[in-house]
Amino acid sequence: MHDMKNFKQLLNPLVYVLVAGLCFTSCEDKLKEQDGQLGTGDLDYTKTSDMIMPLIGAYAQIYSRGWEDPLLIGVRGDDVNAGGLGDQQPFAETDLFNYDKGYWMYNSLWTNMYSDILDINNARETIQTYKDFAPESAYAKADQYMAETKVLSGWTHLQMSRVWGSVFIITQSDVTDDLANGVATKAEVMKYVSDLMDEALPYLPDMRPNQRTDVPGGVTKYTALAVKALANLELENYQEVANATSTIINSNKFMLFNDFYQLFKMPGELSNENLFEFQYSDYGSATGSVNNHLYAPFGPQNWTPARTGASSGWGFYEPSFKFIKFMLDRNETVRLQTSVLFTDRGIAEIKTDPAYATLPSWISNTTPDGDVINDFNRAKFSSGKHYLPSKQLTDGRNSYGSGKNFIVIRYAEILLMYAEALTKGANASGMTADQAVNLVRNRAGLGDLTGVTHADVMDEKFAELAMEWGIRYFDLIRLKNYAELSYDGRTFTEDKALLPYPQAQVDLLPLGVQ
């Protein structure tokens, strides 16, 4: 009896310990749960309709550019300056060819570009996995999507090599092998880009980007040809430039947008002139989601907008006096008015040069859309191609340039590359260099030229493509026309052609001597 009681006393805790033990075995299974995340292995690759999602992701990554990217790529040209003093002085120093490898913008451009390349490669590999599970009928789609990622990757490699010369070629998401190969020379990179476009071409849609219905504005066969032309231009392989550009021209699919001013505004979005375009929108609504580029650095610091409330910009991108005077000398109106936002202070300063004491009456600090650019400390002019009239802003959206697309490659550049290639001795197939140049001139309201020389084409490129993606700077570097870069008190020497590798990357990567 007594023992029994003791036993019972002991039993209660025993049962309890047993139950606890049982529970703990099941509790330990919980340790393997990863609540709240989505692994790549969790995607349903048999759902072929989702195969487009990684492609859209790749576009999203290439569109979402740091504000500093286009500024740093373009600022060293003789078409544009960094603006005066204020913050970001090393940016202004870069414009003066005094480089600081520790400056954050250099590293930021580098990391933005390379992380995009990796994301793009990732997208291609994910599409391949979808393809592995897809019915045969979807193979063509998969191949097209993968080809599109190659175009995006090619353009990015091209930009990087223009800025830094020798860089790594990154072909997949696992970078081990690519890093082991070391950096490729600029010529190797451009060759790689050109070959990559050849790989992509057979799978890409034969249409203009704005004709695409699956991904309106996405890249096509002609975008790939354009990137190929750009790569070969860097290689001074003019016959290949002529071949690629003439294919685009002879497709008869592209045409110059008739209103040069509006090309860079809302009406020019996804026009028949555009071969590659970063797309942004506030979707016409005052509220809700926005996918915008930060255009404020391009804008004037002080303005009186036609639509009250519209925000001004930072004044970081100032068309140069050299460019403005060059345009005035040519009696340019449309392209000058489109490219430059004037301030009274800037106009007054041009006039201090006796040669420009009287300016055409249309030059004023009021834009054709009625925005008044007031004097501001940092700069005397602002970029007109990156300006969206306040009247074109969506009601309720005030950020500078909200919703405006960013044109990357347009038909005018194709025509002028073609013309340049011919004047450099390439064989024509289709129109003449004169015809190509005159198409561009006529749209700008200028008369025809005959017997265009290489110098004529370069002047035309300067006038047509100023402030766009450093085209002018990289042309002068390629042609070793360094005298042009020693302007307004600057002294350019050949050793300044490339930006130094960012310090953070030198510390991280086997970059070697640049």
Binding site: C27, L43, G57, Y63, Q279, S285
Partner: protein, 1006 residues
């Protein structure tokens, strides 16, 4: 045999007779040492649960039967037992128990005699905590515990930063683990200070290893107040109210000084802007070169603010149950002149029930309901920059709506500067509701020896956030066209289920305690947030709901995420002591956590050894040394507060514009983290001693704690994704000494004095392979983590002085190469290559102090008590980013020290550049010019109190009443050019200054 029976019957009879003979015994209990009455002495009839305790004057009254044994016991005194014969008056004199063997310290999953400890534990009692008028108990520990750094906060309701023995993690949380009545917390902002009975700081690894995960930041055990068996109900009111004032307000350059700087800058726009201000706001009649405006922006945005607290509670107990119940209301306004305040209402209860001699159950609950309005800290920063030539209001700004605030762009400046739109058109409300509950059952299988206890804890917290953004227009650069409201709801549900079996026994001189247990942990968090724009009826708080927003605006503005982490642990502890001389403690915990993908399991063994030398024959009964113990301990600690590793590449959803339509895509990562526990290893060597009749106590510890697999960010080549890896090693080491002395001089005078110091050396021992450093901070204000230096040290140039004249420029090729002029800073060419570039940057110091100290003095005279606490630190640096941000905007105001002491001609300054120099990028590099000494000495707390003893006053019966006057942080002495040297992570940009607080308080016990 017969005789025995008779004897037995006689006793039985006499027992029943005596039972009938109940006496009321009264008396006074005093201390043998000084004759003072001893309040709170437990007076218990042995073998029963009947008893009472002495009142404030040491008096007691108890009904006793003849022959019963009455036991008088109190902490720190030897227990006295008296058999009651016939006496009705029984005065007892208690002898101090100088061994204080009875003092019990709360440790992990149990308690231990203080004398048996082998680790470093410091306990702070309620009376020391209650001196500080604060919403957060940790604030009151500032300067009180050696080795604990408390960095105060000024914003109401926020928690101070607490660092225990340095920083041992890079990526994870360094916060200590708070164990509140057994439940784990990383934030105790919900606890009312006066509800706390004691705070035990477990400093070394051997003490805290049993807590496994999160213990690496140290463990702080908090017990809330509980009742006592056989105690009459005691009602307590405790309250104070007072004012807070900003102190050491930074003196800014006034209009005259600012204009001088502008004229000297040589910048035509800066000079023009002064003229613009004259044109717009009129000319000063005193100095016609100045505008008729002289705004002191800090004065404009500051206000005196109130603070008050009221607590009521009751505690006591009967034969089988104890209870402690209470409520508290706390309210504090912020010193920033906007909707900035904190209000909290707490209720608590603590009930323990003896169901039988063997079976005990209890429950414990704290519910806290707080509303907090956060300040717009950006205003601290804007007020620094706003030029004094700008008034707050500008009647000429007619386009402004709804208030005609001024805007600096109107007089030519780049930014709008005025902080008031930020303060007036934003409101940030948080409703913070936290509930801590637990229930336990404890069963003694063998009475007083073997027990089993199961406890379940639930911490449920809900934080509702409402950020209202009202529309306004001041200028194009300072405007908000569309109103918006962001609502965020975060709920946390954390559960723990502990099971512990404890065995205690004594075999002769051998004392043994063995404990084993399991713990199951489930931590769930859920966040839901949405932002709506264009609110209809934004002017009325009653319509601050998303239902009144434009439904279109939710697109892309709704977030929903969460996570759930599970943990399973097994733990044990063994304590052994022989003759109270030789002590061994050992603990182990094995803990699995789902957060880690590389290796779920953590093992944290620890052990400690103690040698109580004073128990040895050669030192026993020594007149000077009453107690002396040497301690040594070793242990491992885990840090699980690291954020989850994914263990696989993950996918996220992105949206982009395709053909003017928002389209979703997916992006996958190229790399992933695959982490295991961070483990910190610690060795601690200590001495505990009491001398001179235990008047002088000494605690000293030397520690080395090393985290050898610290999680650090490693930048992946090309992708530049930052992947966290267990690849770093960080070490903290230091010495902690605290000394306390107390003495009673005579019947009227008593005093105590104490001091503590601690040193700290923080060092990065290694980083990942081929990783030379980890860069933190921003590009302009670099903080670099590098082997051999402290974590996140400031990194930049060393200033040698200022170029004074043209000859100095001529003679320095660096000055010539950079086109410098007199008034520019001269930097050290560290590598001596004749070029000043990024390679000349050096470590400029750490935000961690290497020396901290605190002290206290208490004097009692009759009913008056006076106390002073001081604290201080040195060796830490502060980045004065207010000055440093001249790199972004050079046309703004500066502090008066800089304006007055600028270089303005040969010999005028060798530390500050000229006005023109301030605007040059050469002088804006991060350098020792912006890195300032963060040392300070502070009078932490002064308190004067007067106690009215219970009795009669003016013919009325008065309860025991204590009146106090408190000055918290009244004086701080420092060199730093800012409000306050208390800057949490050493970067002062918009630090909310910690105000001085003055309160009157009253404490009533009935």
């Amino acid at each position: 045999m017969k005789a025995r029976l008779i004897l037995f019957l006689f006793f039985l009879f006499s027992y029943s007779v005596s039972q009938a003979q109940e006496l009321t015994v009264t008396g006074t209990v005093t201390s043998a040492e000084d004759g003072f009455p001893v309040p709170g002495v437990n007076v218990l009839i042995k073998g029963t649960s009947r008893g009472t305790s002495t009142d404030f004057d040491g008096n007691y009254s108890l009904k006793v039967n003849r022959g019963e044994i009455v036991e008088f016991s109190s902490l720190g005194f030897k227990t006295v037992t008296v058999t009651i014969a016939n006496q009705t008056t029984l005065n007892i004199s208690l002898e101090a128990d100088i061994e204080a063997l009875g003092e019990i310290v709360v440790v992990g999953y149990g308690s231990q005699r203080k004398a048996d400890l082998t680790g470093a534990i410091t306990t702070v009692q309620a009376e020391d905590i209650e001196r500080t008028p604060t919403s957060n108990v940790m604030q009151s520990l500032q300067g009180k515990v050696a080795g604990v750094q408390v960095v105060g906060v000024g914003s109401p309701g926020d928690s101070p930063k607490v660092r225990l023995r340095g920083v041992g993690t890079f990526d994870g949380s360094n916060n200590p683990l708070y164990v509140v009545n057994g439940m784990f917390y990383d934030n105790i902002d919900f606890l009312n200070t006066s509800d706390i009975e004691s705070v035990s700081v477990l400093k070394d690894a051997s003490s805290s290893a049993i807590f496994g995960q999160k213990a690496a930041g140290g463990v702080i055990i908090i017990q809330t107040k509980s009742g006592k068996f056989e105690k009459k109900p005691e009602f307590v009111y405790n309250g104070y109210s007072g004012y807070q004032f900003a102190q050491n307000v930074v003196k800014m350059a006034n209009t005259e000084q600012f204009a001088t700087m502008a004229y000297e800058s040589g910048s035509s726009t800066d000079i023009a802007n002064i003229q613009n201000a004259i044109q717009r706001y009129g000319r000063s009649r005193i100095n016609p070169n100045l505008p008729d405006v002289n705004t002191d922006w800090y004065k404009e945005i500051l206000r005196p603010a109130t603070i008050s607290s009221h607590s009521i509670g009751v505690n006591g107990g009967g034969e089988n149950a104890t209870y402690s119940l209470g409520a508290n209301y706390f309210s504090q306004d912020g010193i920033m002149d906007m909707k900035n305040e904190y209000e909290r209402f707490n209720i608590r209860s603590n009930v323990d029930i003896k169901l039988s001699e063997r079976f005990k159950m209890g429950t414990n609950m704290v519910f806290s309901n707080a509303t907090k309005y956060n300040a717009e800290n950006g205003a601290w920063f804007q007020a620094y920059f706003a030029v004094p030539t700008l008034p707050v209001y500008d009647p000429l700004n007619t386009e402004a709506t709804p208030v005609a605030y001024s805007d600096a762009t109107k007089i030519g400046y780049r930014g709008s500067q005025n902080p008031f739109p930020t303060m007036r058109f934003n409101e940030n409300q948080l409703k913070i509701r936290k509930l801590l509950t637990n229930i336990y059952a404890e069963y003694y299988i063998v009475p007083e020896k073997l027990s089993i206890k199961t406890s379940y804890y639930h911490d449920y917290s809900s934080i509702e956030e409402r950020n209202v953004r009202m529309p306004y227009f001041i200028s194009q650069n300072s405007q908000r066209e569309t109103s918006s409201i962001r609502k965020a709801q975060a709920t946390y549900s954390n559960q723990i289920w502990d099971n512990v079996i404890t065995y205690k026994d004594v075999f002769g001189d051998h004392n043994i305690t063995v404990l084993g247990g399991t713990s199951y942990r489930d931590e769930a968090v859920h966040n839901l947030s949405a932002t709506g724009e264009d609110i209809t009826g934004i002017d009325f708080e009653s319509s601050w709901y998303l239902d009144f927003a434009d439904p279109e605006s939710f697109n892309g503005n709704v977030r929903d995420n969460g996570g759930r982490v599970y943990g399973v642990s097994y733990f044990g502890r063994a304590e052994y002591s022989f003759m109270d001389r030789y002590l061994i403690n050992a603990t182990i915990r094995a803990e699995g956590d789902s957060k880690f993908t590389a290796n779920n399991w953590l093992y944290t063994p620890a052990f400690g050894l103690g040698w109580v030398i004073s128990e040895e024959n050669f030192l026993k009964d020594n007149n000077v040394i009453n107690f002396l113990k040497l301690r040594a301990s070793y242990g491992k600690l885990g840090n699980g507060s690291l954020g989850r590793s994914s263990g696989t590449r993950t996918v996220s959803i992105v949206q982009t514009d395709i053909g003017d339509q928002p389209v979703s895509g997916i992006v996958s990562t190229s790399n992933f983290s695959n982490l295991e526990w961070e483990v910190t290893e610690e060795k601690d060597f200590g001495i505990s001693a009491r001398m001179f009749n235990s008047r002088l106590t000494l605690e000293a510890d030397y520690f080395i704690r090393t985290t050898d697999n610290a999680v650090i960010p490693v930048i992946q080549p090309i992708s530049n994704e930052i992947v966290r890896k267990n690849a770093g090693e960080i070490r903290n080491q230091g010495l902690e000494v605290s000394l306390d002395y107390n003495q009673t001089l005579n019947d009227n005078w008593r005093f105590n004095i104490g001091a503590n110091i601690s040193t700290l050396k923080n060092e990065v021992i290694s980083l990942a392979e081929n990783q030379e450093y980890i860069d933190g901070g921003s590009a302009e204000f670099r903080q670099r983590t590098r082997v051999g230096d402290p974590i996140r040290a400031f990194f930049g140039y060393e200033v040698l002085g200022v170029y004074q004249n043209a000859a100095e420029i001529q003679n320095d090729p660096i000055a010539m190469a950079n086109n410098l002029v007199p008034g520019d800073l001269r930097y050290r060419d560290v590598n001596g290559d004749g070029v000043l570039d990024a390679d000349d940057r050096v470590i400029l110091g750490s935000y961690l102090p290497n020396f901290m100290y605190g002290g206290n003095l208490g004097i009692s005279y009759k009913n008056f008590d006076f106390s002073v606490n001081v604290s201080g630190q040195s060796g830490n640096k502060i980045l004065n980013r207010k000055r440093g941000e001249v790199i972004f905007t050079s046309d703004t105001n500066m502090d008066a020290d800089l304006a007055i002491n600028r270089w303005h001609g040969e010999g005028t300054s060798n530390s500050y550049p000229s006005s023109a120099g301030l605007r040059k990028s050469w002088n804006q590099k991060l350098s020792t010019y912006f890195i300032e000494d963060g040392s300070y000495f502070r009078i932490q707390n002064i308190q004067l109190s007067y106690t009215v003893k219970p009795g009669s006053l003016l013919g009325k019966r008065m309860p025991e009443t204590r009146l106090t006057f408190t000055a918290e942080r009244p004086f701080t002495f420092f060199k730093y050019n800012g409000f306050d040297p208390e800057v949490q992570d050493g970067v002062d940009r918009q630090t909310y200054p910690v105000p001085a607080v003055y309160t009157m308080g009253i404490n009533i016990k009935i």
